[in-house]
Symmetry: C2
């Protein structure tokens, strides 16, 4: 397989959380309910500003945790659309981030991968990740739940991917990294992980100088790809 | 005025280039001519990916100059819209970046500010900035044309704003920074410059923790604001 070295054997699988394991559609639905005429565009601006602010605060060296960044992005999105977002609506939308559902195939797919060390590596703050994993009943599934919060900088900074090495305690060539975000896969590949792009929505790959080692449409495809993997 | 210190006296004015002094509308028009049905969305995606890629490459520590980033963003934008963009169309659109017109009020407004040291501080590569300033007949206007290329990282990294100090050779509290990009004004304010947000298009301010010292709709307003400035 493209990108695999002779010496490379994957021992741990590290997953991005939002959009990769957990579906943000419930928050989008809530936006549609609360603002029937603007829900779609509100959730688009909210999500794109949430990402932008992680990059911009990282570059400005003015870290704020993912809860803060998500709140600020929501405030921007409402202002830009002239939507009144009082504290009760604001709080309801934010709470939505603590109750995201895993994609339907996730639990079964993770069971099929239980011979690997499984970990989450996410921008989410420790509190957000803990609540989300617990609410989804996935507490026992992951050996490590790792937050970018520990290095006060966001993906795709190499400092974040390095955290996975340190926490899991293995070499970077033994880590397979899975994300639905093309920028995140670029960052992980640049750092030296074997990478899988979870392209659920048939998105366009970002031109940042790297390619994924494999691309799947759902997590259920991964076990099969890894088991037929020849390390030649 | 909000944000001014007693000791503060502005001696140099530092301007962002794209969207602040120079109008990117000519490139948007070209997109519309070449792709009549998709010109608007093509130029939107192109511009937003161009910015994204500056942030992402900076965070990944995989610098590519602004010409490269602009080309990559164009490639992404065309792919995402399934537009055929052969080399002659690609080259025509890219060349557009070397021939941007200054906004109509810029030359006169800069003349009115000639008692200040005037500089450009831009993400643009030195070659791009030189060509653009020459093609606009503004060679003699700026004492310094400073490119982020020198530090191989993009705005809003403090390393870029620090370049202005080093090149102009004055204290940061003596620099007034002008940009149409709200993230850029946040970055400059975070670094310690007096800042002016050139909000030509009535955009929404980005929630990144800072506020501009003043906001204008066009460059012609700046001389007046600075002359009536009381340093109390």
């Amino acid at each position: 397989m493209k990108g695999m070295n002779t010496e490379q054997e994957i021992k741990a699988l590290v997953f991005d959380a939002y959009g990769t394991l957990f579906n943000t559609n419930s928050v989008i639905s809530m936006c549609n309910e609360l603002f029937p005429d603007h829900g779609e565009v509100l959730s688009q601006i909210w999500r794109s500003k949430q990402l932008e602010y992680t990059w911009l605060r990282s570059l400005m060296e003015r870290y704020g945790d993912f809860w803060k960044v998500t709140e600020d992005a929501l405030i921007f999105a409402c202002k830009s659309l002239n939507l009144q977002c009082g504290s009760s609506i604001h709080d309801r939308l934010m709470e939505g981030y603590l109750h995201l559902n895993p994609y339907p195939e996730v639990q079964q797919a993770l069971n099929a991968l239980s011979n690997y060390t499984l970990a989450i590596l996410s921008n989410g703050s420790p509190r957000m990740l803990k609540a989300m994993v617990e609410n989804a009943g996935l507490e026992g599934t992951f050996t490590h739940i790792i937050s970018a919060d520990e290095v006060c900088v966001y993906k795709p900074s190499p400092s974040v991917y390095r955290l996975a090495l340190e926490k899991i305690g293995i070499d970077r060539s033994s880590i397979g990294f899975v994300s639905s975000n093309s920028f995140d896969v670029n960052g992980a590949k640049s750092f030296g992980f074997w990478t899988c792009w979870m392209n659920r929505l048939n998105n366009t790959w970002d031109e940042l100088g790297f390619s994924p080692d494999t691309t799947v449409n759902g997590l259920n495809e991964l076990a099969n790809i890894l088991s037929t993997q020849t390390y030649n």
